[in-house]
Amino acid sequence: MGTTEPMIDHIGTESIDVPVFFPEPEKQFFGFVSMPRTSPPSTTGVILLSGSFGGTTTLGRNRMWLKMARSLADRGYPVLRFDYAGIGYSVGELVCCDLDRPALSELAAGFDVLADHGAERFIVVGTCYGSRTALEGTVGDPRIAAVHLLVPPVRDVTKGQEDAEHLAEYVGAASLAKKAITPQNLRKLVTNKQSRRAARRVLSMKARSVVGRGPRRAGSGEAPQGRSARDASLKFQRPLRALLEGGVPVRLLFGDADPFFTEFQEARAGRLGEFLDQHHDLVDVEIVSGKVRGFLTVSAQDASIRSVVDWVERQGG
């Protein structure tokens, strides 16, 4: 990541966090509403939908979601972030992060929480699993002012498959070997049956890739072969198209080194690109340097927060 802008700091000085169990009366889910200290707050509320991260989905690496929420609340917006069902203080069946089962109940209940705090329209921000939830959970809702997708997966992948395919497709053999020989990975290979299975899957995909019978060779620059392999998932395209046809502005943020960005570019060469072009006035694709997915650097975290704050300021007025 390369940025010369200052790190986001001194957040939360103009806001308060309110813990909430919701919905009433079940109180199944837990989250925080960040509210501006100044009253009245904006009637545009923001919902933040993280991917999975440890024992709670309210925080993220280096408290990124908390910082994002408080940055927005400092600017007058009520913001909700919460634990998905079965995570942290939220109870219920753990389905995170199966892309086929987005957190629609949590999101629907979240809209009501923000409505109780004065919100009349909503901007929904999501990454990974959260981005699928943001897409599927907002279609057809007239209260949606905008959507922001942080490094969204454009294809359908399961967690293990996702990592294996990315490693096989986008990482060279030498880099794969380097990844494998870390002490942590070696220990996992010895002690963990699941890790051994995952490694076999990567090696098998890589072998097929090298002999040209599977995913393309990393760095080969070959053109995508056929719609099914390279086009965006219908589960990504359909709700995105519906949102755009409904006039909802959507921003997508990628790092130029994100494998998901490569997939997005490949998909954009097909049908996805056609309707993105048709609705170019509603679509904003922001590309930053380096890798954003996983928010593994403070600059990636800051770039994400800045992008979301900017989008909300543009669309939430």
């Binding site: 909430v20 837990f30 690496r61 975290q301």
Partner: protein, 285 residues
């Protein structure tokens, strides 16, 4: 930053009250108080670790809190200022402030439930504040999950994790000496996406858990990875601490793989049950 409200719910399993609120002076601290449905027979304060480790043990600590509340113990969880869901910035996080925060959490439990904590749980770096609290309560029970014995090691492990992430191409590769030089020059460095301040780093320098001897307490040390705890056990035993160990069998790469934590594993549930057994057993004896 201050919060104005408290979220409450009765935990579906045991019926214990879960009360989540911010408390203390500004910047306020996030806390979760677990109050048993029936008679309360004692109190426990759980001291988390920090940064990536806070996320890693978040659910495990919640499971322990619920288990203890189901057995009649009031429990206080909290996050230190500048970390987790608490208010404050990275600059607010340092070892003395963590100990002060733990003392405030103890008072919070007393105020809220009328019960004085008699047991303390420390996770990793949280073993320092937990042990410090135990020093003030004669006959207390102290349980430490995978304690950090030498605070310098905590940073070294983070640097090692950073190096591993760099090998995988996820972060920038830097030598330890260069990182330390930058920490001195800029007051902050980044390790695996976490901000480490010189204030935090300096507050850990030279700190050794064995120096905090909770004389008269009963302690259970639970190493997660066959780590050698003898430097701690020897000093504490000599200092009048009745100390035992329990094999955790719950290996963790603390600074890495937050995503990989299986919050539902049988091993974790077993660890929670055995830990709760020990705490309840000590309080009853």
């Amino acid at each position: 930053m201050t919060a104005h409200s408290t979220a409450t719910r009765h935990e579906p399993g045991s019926g214990a009250l879960e009360e989540i609120a911010y408390f203390g002076d500004e910047p306020t601290m996030w806390g979760s108080t677990h109050v048993p449905a029936g008679e309360t027979v004692g109190g426990v304060v759980i001291c988390s670790s920090t940064h990536a480790e806070l996320l890693k043990s978040y659910h495990l600590e919640l499971l322990l809190a619920r288990e203890l509340a189901a057995r009649g113990l009031a429990v206080q969880r909290f996050h230190y200022r500048g970390d987790g869901n608490s208010s404050g910035s990275d600059e607010d996080l340092a070892l003395p402030a963590m100990i002060t925060g733990a003392e405030e959490a103890r008072r919070r439990l007393e105020t809220r439930t009328g019960v004085s904590p008699v047991a303390f749980v420390g996770v990793r770096l949280g073993s320092f504040p937990a042990s410090r609290l135990a020093m003030d309560v004669a006959g207390s029970a102290l349980m430490l999950w995978d304690p950090v014995l030498d605070a310098d090691v905590f940073i070294r492990e983070a640097v090692r994790g950073h190096a591993i992430a760099a090998m995988a191409g996820d972060t920038k590769r830097e030598k330890m000496a260069d990182l330390m030089e930058r920490l001195r020059a800029e007051g902050t460095i980044e390790l695996i996406g976490y901000q480490i301040t010189s204030r935090f780093y300096d507050s850990l320098a030279g700190m050794n858990l064995a120096d905090l001897v909770p004389t008269g307490s009963r302690a259970l040390v639970v190493p997660f990875d066959k780590a050698d705890m003898s430097p701690l056990l020897d000093v504490w035993s000599a200092g009048g601490v009745e100390v035992a160990t329990l094999e955790g069998d719950n290996k963790e790469a603390w600074w890495l793989d937050e995503q990989a934590s299986d919050t539902r594993s049988t091993k974790r549930e077993l660890l929670v049950r055995r830990s709760a057994d020990w705490i309840v057993g000590r309080l009853g004896s």
